[in-house]
Each structure stands twice: as structure tokens, then as C-alpha cells.
Amino acid sequence: MKTNGIKRKSEIKAAYLFVIPALVLLVAFLIVPALSTIRYAFTNYNIMRPDKIKFVGFENFIKLFSDDSFWQAVLNTFYFTVIVVPFQCILALGLALLISSRRRGVSIFRAAYFSPQVTSMVVIAILWTVLYNPNPDTGLLNAFLKSMGLNTSQFLNSPDTAMNSIIFMSAWQAAGYQMMIFLAGLQGIPGEQYEAASIDGAGKFKQFIYVTLPGLKNVIKYVIMITMIQAMKLFTQPYVMTKGGPQNSTRTLVYYIYEQGFQKRHFGYACTVAAVFFVIVITMSLSMKKIIKAD
């Protein structure tokens, strides 16, 4: 009994020891900055004047609610998320199904689909800016459209097409990662289930609906969750490709935070936006979790 108690105590001690490094990092890089953000959200902090920070109460929040650019950014962020999440997940699942077979040469495709994922987003964004160039003499995509006798598109240089252009290239870039997760999920589905299904007379499509999808349920939940959270944080693409324009069409929340804090140097206001953004993301994640758990 006694020795058991001592053992337990030392186990608890060890447990704390193991937790400490993670805890220290979490506190230093997540909790403290998050708390500072909330504190600065109530100040007029100008990045150039760290010595003259003044508490202004809810002034920033009042300004925020009548700030059209902010609401546009909220709208843009949601638009991006709502479109990109299903698009990217279906694309990833499709790719995973295509390469899950054990045919020869499939590993080449696996590497090809995954390769955008290991390339820096900045590099990819610059490349796609060139691909999307509105001048058919320069932009590959427009050259292709022109050679097919179709109308060329302004892509990133029109408020109507800019966000969709970013959505397409983002899904292309990121789908490889989700594909790998789906692939692992697919390999976890026992082959007997397919056998049984085919004996029962289920075709490929029915097998997909009744065997593959239920077998992937947990993987799908996970993939949707992380894709959504990543989509909410969209920054690099507008930063490199469009600078939030044209006409506000690609200004996302995170880009707006950067722009207010660093370019315009209104750090206090940027923190206000960040605080609201934090609440939005947390609420979305929690409600997503609830919805997913419910079924």
C-alpha cells in the first residue's frame, strides 16, 4: 500500500515534469501574447510610441463596429472559408482515392500531388501571380484561354475574380496534405469490408458511399476541422498576391490586422481586431466540435 502511494506520488511528479516544457512554451508564446493583445485592445498604442500608451476604454471596439473595411474583411474571410473547405477536402479525397490503388507508378503521382505542400507558400504565391497575369503575353493561364479561343480573365486584378483565384491556388497548394491524411485513413479500412460489400452486389459507387465514407468518418471530421482553422488565418496569399485588393476583395481579417498594426502603425486598434478575431475562431472551433460530436 505504502509503496504504491510513493510510486503514485513520484509518477505524479514525473507527469508534471513532462508537462512543464509544453506549459512553459504555451504560456510564453500563446497565453501571455493573447493576454497582452486583449490589454492593448483597450489602448491607443501606436507602434512608434511605446512610451505613450493610453487606456481608451471601449473606443476601439466602438470604432470597429462601424468600420466598413473590418466587416468587409469578416465577409471575405468567411467567403474564403466556406468555399475553400469543401472544395479542398473533396479535391483531397478525390486525389487520395485516385492514388490509393496499388498500380505501378502511383508513387510518382503521390509525390507530385504532395510537392506543393513542401514548397513555401510565398514562392507558390509569386509563381501563381505570374500564371494569373492578365496579359496573355505573360500570364500562362490567359495564354491558354486565348489559344482555346476563350475570353481572357483579369484574375487577381478584378474584384470579381481575385478571391476565387486565391481560393483555387490555395486548394491546389494545400490539398496534398489532406490527401495524405485521407490516404492513411483509406488504408485503415479493412479490405474484408469491400469484399463483403461486393459479394452483396454493391458497385464501386455504393462501396464508396457505404464502406469508404463511414470508414473515413473520423478522418473527415479532423480534416474539415484543421482546414477550417487554417482557412480562417488566410494571410500569405493576399499579402504576396493582391495586398488585400482590388477594392477590398481579398482583404482578410489577418491581413487587416497586419495592415492596421504594421503599415498604419495603429497597434492598439490592430489588437482590437485580433481580439475579436480570436473570439470568432474559438466560437467556430467549439461549435464545429459540437456539431461533429452530435452525429
Binding site: I47, M48, V130, N135, F262, K264, F267
Partner: protein
Amino acid sequence: MKKSMVKTMAVVSAAAVMSTGFTVPVMADDPVEVTIWSPTDEPAIEEWWVQKIDEFNKAHEGEIVLSREAIVRADSYAYEDKVNAALTSNDLPDILYVDGPNIANYAANGVIVPIGDFFTEEDLSDFVDSIKVQGTYEDELYALGATESSVALFYNKDMLDEAGLTAPDKLEDAWTWSDFREAAEKLTKEGVTGTNIIMDQGEGLPYVLEQFWISNGTDFVSPEGDKADGYVNSEKGVEAAEFLNGLIQDGLADIDPIEKAFHNGKSATMLGGSWEVATLENEYPDLNWGVTYYPVADNDGINASPTGDWAACITKDADVEAAGEVMNFLMNQENVTTYAQAIAKLPTRVSSYDTLTEYDEYPRSLFKEQSMETGHPRPRTPSYTVLSPGFSEAMMNIFTGADVQEELDNLAADFDEDYEMNYAE
């Protein structure tokens, strides 16, 4: 007795530890470290820095150790972001290179300190006015640079000949906006745009295009730098923006020109910087090109051309004496001359032109002439940090179909709000 002795000893040693901990004793021969931040540049300049730093360190051995960090600038605001981040964490260098129009902002916020005392009156009189005007905020000199810049209209001679056009070779005969547009119309053909007005989508827009406002009799902001409403969005300002927008909308200029479009014969003319002369000479020897004056507004517009360049400042936390010594070194006659030569930009010292005789001959003489006769530095206002990205954004919005008046009104309102909030007395 013993106990109290131990106590005193402890106190004394603690005090000793504390004193060494808080005030590091400065030995007479302990060298002061001075760091410089400046944008990453072409190989010739990078080499210049290595050589000059070496030279300085040898001459000041045991006193000052100079070093430089090259910061990537890209074509947006990456350099300024880095400086802002360093500000929040107190990691500023001692000497900071700043793009001309940002000087007022850093000065107004006390990030940089006046440097007038490090230069004699006589020495300063050798510098061209535009660089001193750019570096002055509220009657104090905060920055000095070795180079100036100018922008003029480069043209493809073959294409002009083909279209039956001749570019003016006297300042009085400079093309008006109508001439400029007409030329662009004649020069635009399959695969070639008539002109190129977008240097980059960041600072390049206000830098190059502000002159259209000035030439038309207005400016971005008031001469005091405290108001944009009634300037950038005035009737004359809207006219300027509409003229530029016409070039884009009618396909005479690209909204997103490729790198070096002019150099590769993809555009017949371009509003290009003085530094392009060297690039064209060295890297595009087959291109038959010329350069003419910056276009002037119709109906007796004002002859105007951009000026301004990166300049060195001393930051608030620097060892001012040592940093001043470095400034003196960087801005001495020889170094201004060699730096300007390496970077192929206009020198800021009048006496440098004695050595750089290439500026007496066309095409460089045209830039020298513009810089001395028609140069206008960008607005010297602490709210330039809002004006610059705001203007770039407004122009890109206009070019993609937004309402001109509305965009410029928004820009003016943003600027005025920032000024009121942060700098108004």
C-alpha cells in the same frame, strides 16, 4: 562578531555583483559597436559596403567597431515592417537607412535624432537642396543620404521611329499629358503596350505618380503636411488620377506589367528611375533607347519630377558620438562619390559631379537637369505611413474600376484622421 562580518561581507559582495551587473564598467579602450541597417542591394553596392566598413574599422581600431546588416526590402513594405518590429522590442540599429518620405514619421515619433551638429555649415552647403529638404523635419536635419533619384520617360527609339514620333530634347518642349497619351496610342500594338506607369505596387506608385498631381497645380497634401482633403482629392487631383486611369483602361499601359517590360521590348515607353540607365547600358546593349523629360500637365502645367532616396539616420538609442563619426565618414566627399557611382544614382554632393563627368552627357545629364530644376520631394509629413499604402491601394482600386472621386476622398479622410489622432497639436 563573526556573524556580522559575514553579513557585511555578503552585503558588500552583493553590492559588487549588483554594480557590475547594472553598470558595465566602460574601459577607455573598449571599442563601441555601431551597427547599420540598410536594404539589400545590387552586388556593386554590397561590395562597396564591405570595403568601406573594412576601411572604417581599420582607421578606428580599438575605438569603434562598425558592422552592417542588409535587410531585404522586396517591392512592398517589408523593410518598414522589420523596423517597426525592432521598435517594439528595442532592437533598433544605431544607424538606420530610411526611405526619404518616412523620415518625418520617424522624426515626429522620436525614433531618430537630429544630426545637424555632426556636419559643418560649409560641408552641408555642398549637398543638393532636395536631399536636405527631404531630411529636415520641423527645422532640424535628421537624415542625409549619398544619392538622389529622378524619374523620366524612357522610350524605345525604334518603336518611336516606326510610329513617326520624336521625343523632345529640351525641358521647355517636354511632352504634355495629351502628347504623352497620343504617343502611347500610336505605340500600342499587339504584344506591346504604349507605356508603363507602374514601377511597383508599393512605394513605387506614390513616388512616380505624385508628379501628376504637382504638375496639375495641386499635391497629395498641404505644404505643412497636415491635411490631404482638398489636395489629393481636389478637382485637379481627380483629373490627374483620371488621366492615369485612362491609360490603363484603354489598354495603353498594363495594370500588372511584367518585370523589365520596357527592357524586353514589351512596352514602348516607361516612367523609369535614373538608375535604369546603368541597367540598360550594361544588361540590354541591343536595345535602342532614349530618355526624355517627365510629362507635363496640359495648359501650362508645372514641370515636375520625383526626387528622394534612402538616407541615413541615427536612432534614439545609439551612442551618438560614435554614430556621428560613422555618419561623417559615410557622407564624406569620397564616399558619396563612390557610393553614387556604384549604385548608378545621382550623387547628393554638388562637388561629386566634378568626378562623375558622365553626368555632363546625355542621357545622364537629363536626370541631373531634372534633379536640379524640376525635382519635388515627396510630402514631408509623419502621416506618410498612411498616405503611401493608402495611395497605392486607391490607385489599384481605381485601375480595377472603382470610382475615382470616392477612392481619393477615402484616402484623404484616412490621412486626415491619422494626422489628427497622432500628430495634431
